[in-house]
Symmetry: C2
Subunit: 208 residues, 2 copies
């Protein structure tokens, strides 16, 4: 049997509902603006009762930010699948790009609209950062396993996870800056460059 994601119908249904709710929340919020969307609407769009919404998420913002959480946790999963002999930072880069780099299933403009929404509404910003932090945590655990270090004792894995989270945030911010260069850079390229700089210790450009 498959251990990966399906331990019974129960679990699968739960995941499906969770996904349906967060997708509905995101879609509606992008369409109408966050505070023209009621929890009631989201629940209706996902085919569950309003009360059930709160069994899954404790706020609209959390539901929307879950989309990001999902992606970002994918980085940690991808990292665990990297060959063990690959250098850490190469593995991290590949893992990150596998989830945030290449042309996605979601059309780029829709994805960007979502990111723009999340970075504009203050309550969404907070939840976005929380999701990002949880992703960093997941990456930290994967790093700890990979380099064989106890994350409760040695902060190294958390620093790496956090650093990656920063790269992601900065790359995304640059990606959708109001005044893009021509041609606009791809998120993947921005992300790769950010990781490279961090892995180089962010040397003062003045001192070069």
């Amino acid at each position: 049997m498959d251990v990966s994601s399906a331990r019974g119908l129960r679990e699968r249904k739960k995941q499906a509902t969770r996904q349906a709710l967060s997708w509905a929340a995101l879609r509606l919020a992008v369409q109408r603006g966050l505070d023209n969307v009621l929890v009631e609407d989201i629940a209706a769009a996902a085919g569950v009762s309003p009360r059930t919404f709160n069994n899954y998420f404790s706020s609209k913002a959390e539901a929307i930010a879950f989309r990001h959480l999902d992606r970002v946790e994918g980085i940690a999963a991808a990292l665990r699948e990297q060959p063990a002999q690959t250098p850490l930072w190469t593995a991290l880069t590949d893992a990150a790009l596998s989830r945030f780099g290449d042309a996605d299933s979601v059309p780029d403009s829709a994805w960007m609209a979502g990111v723009r929404l999340v970075t504009s509404e203050p309550s969404l910003v907070a939840e976005f950062l929380k999701a990002n932090a949880r992703g960093e945590q997941a990456v930290a655990m994967a790093v700890a396993a990979r380099v064989g270090v106890d994350p409760r004792v040695d902060p190294y894995p958390h620093l790496v996870g956090g650093a990656l989270g920063v790269c992601l945030r900065v790359a995304m911010a640059q990606w959708m800056q109001p005044d893009p260069p021509d041609p606009p850079a791809s998120l993947g390229a921005l992300l790769r460059s950010a990781i490279e700089q961090v892995a180089a210790g962010l040397p003062d450009p003045t001192a070069r």
Copy 2:
């Protein structure tokens, strides 16, 4: 006249109210637990009407997280006061330690109780991260000014600011981990060490 913080009685009163509200929010939440504190209570403790509370903060969590924001923005201010010829990462370390390093005006145990509160309640975590991010932004601007780079074009300042934010978060987490070493490390030492590692590019310890 003093340009620093006082541009008229009005402004000073506003700052005082803001501080009073956030301090009251923190104190009450630590004492009773977050959801045993009503906005009404906080407002009363600060001597303003409940309605006024929401003129300053849009939630209890934001009011509490403002304490952290205040400190973290101090780092950026401290950075701007560092001598120009100091190497960037030295200046950053000194600036950070000036606000988070040494024995504080606040007794350590109280400060730690506050941090513990903020990291335990989910809604506070989100607001804490938002505050931290705003601090990173402020640091980024200071870095941009220092190294003479346009932060809208070059992501370097944001990466540095973000990296510092990560150091802070990780150091704080380690500082109040449930299973502290004996003797417990000081926040300053943990922070310094984290910054050193990041400035060294977080090399894989396995490959050493």
